[in-house]
Symmetry: C2
Subunit: 230 residues, 2 copies
């Protein structure tokens, strides 16, 4: 499948390399290709500049946001939550129409101290997932994978023999089925993908981030996930 990933951070890189390894055709979108490839800066977590990663992943092209959106049958939003709607506008509404748009962003707000809170305009009585859907009404937005560390997104076997929960929500059943197939391709067991209903459930899954951040702090590790047990 042709996949266009928006965002060059750790999440975008991790998804891109795993999906390419599984045989998908993958491109990564960024604002300015030349600048990104020239940059020597580490990210806020001390990860090496993008060009180091690119050297080892020559099969994954870095392109402009709009080109990534055109290329992909499925588009994955792996940008920072506060910038996502701007980025998707750069990708182009017409380009996104009728496509499956997987949103794994979180509306984190680091401006009010650490650990981050959520951007007030994108949380509580709203959410990033909902606002993406309402800004791009013809796109088929599916929210998933935003509740865990990138390493686990693409390799769920890493913890508890793969038995833990990934949420999914969205308004379009066929789009959710397409995303389920991508997820099971990465190792997710179908019974561990919990459908929370329409895109308004983005409020529920994005609200988990402050919980996640506190657990991460307590464990001093991001290599965990939640499992819903009955």
């Amino acid at each position: 499948m042709k996949i266009g990933i928006l965002g060059t951070g750790t999440v975008g890189q991790t998804l891109a390399s795993r999906l390419a390894e599984l045989g998908h055709e993958v491109v990564i979108g960024t604002r300015n290709v030349e600048e990104k490839l020239a940059s020597e800066s580490k990210d806020m977590y001390g990860n090496p500049p993008f060009k180091e990663w690119q050297k080892e992943h020559g099969n994954i092209r870095l392109v402009k946001f709009s080109e990534a959106a055109e290329f992909g049958e499925v588009i994955i939003n792996a940008t920072k939550g506060g910038s996502s709607i701007d980025v998707l506008k750069q990708a182009g509404e017409n380009t996104l129409n009728n496509k499956v748009l997987v949103d794994i962003g979180n509306p984190l707000d680091a401006s009010k101290g650490m650990p981050p809170s959520l951007l007030p305009e994108l949380s509580n009585t709203s959410s990033l997932g909902e606002q993406i859907q309402s800004s791009f009404p013809q796109a088929k937005v599916v929210k998933t994978l935003n509740t865990m560390w990138a390493g686990i997104m693409v390799n769920p076997q890493m913890v508890n023999n793969g038995d833990h929960t990934n949420f999914i929500c969205g308004n379009d059943e066929e789009a959710k089925q397409t995303v389920r197939k991508l997820l099971t391709g990465m190792g997710w067991k179908d019974e561990n993908i919990l459908d929370l209903g329409d895109i308004s459930s983005s409020r529920g899954v994005e609200s988990f981030l402050p919980t996640w951040l506190r657990i991460m702090n307590s464990k001093q590790s991001a290599a965990f996930n939640l499992r819903i047990v009955e």
Copy 2:
């Protein structure tokens, strides 16, 4: 141990009957004892009036908030999050000083549609747990049990053989130890009680409620919990 529970709803009743069954001396506090015992109204979930429950639990006295706070070595806040600080003021700051105050409230806001959101003034960059602690600085506030259905709080064996996670946080280590003992007495395994640090982690655990509500809606059951797996 002498325990004063504030709040006559399902959570207060469930905790009271279980703790009494385990041999603790328990009273329940309310605003107006006569009114509460006279009331014929069901609660918003259709549960019978308090007096029906009281008939079957004659060993648990219903008293004023202030009397419950005086009686208890441990006080449990099981009132609605939006009213909790008012209730605790009625209980009396001097009475609460130096006592362990277990907060299991959630700042739910049903005024902006269902499922409830969180009260903006008690969430995101603040929390109920923190505001209780700052309003009653000499009380030893411990936040726990707020992330699950009451039936599971008092009987964790009900799901997954008792293997699921209960969070705890608070500024006073000794108070957290006291609460751990109460929890293990109700059947919680010590290794499943995850300490998230000081009371500011209330933001993390209260933020889980919107997640919980969506999972509950998807499962059409409250008989689940989360388990953190690694």
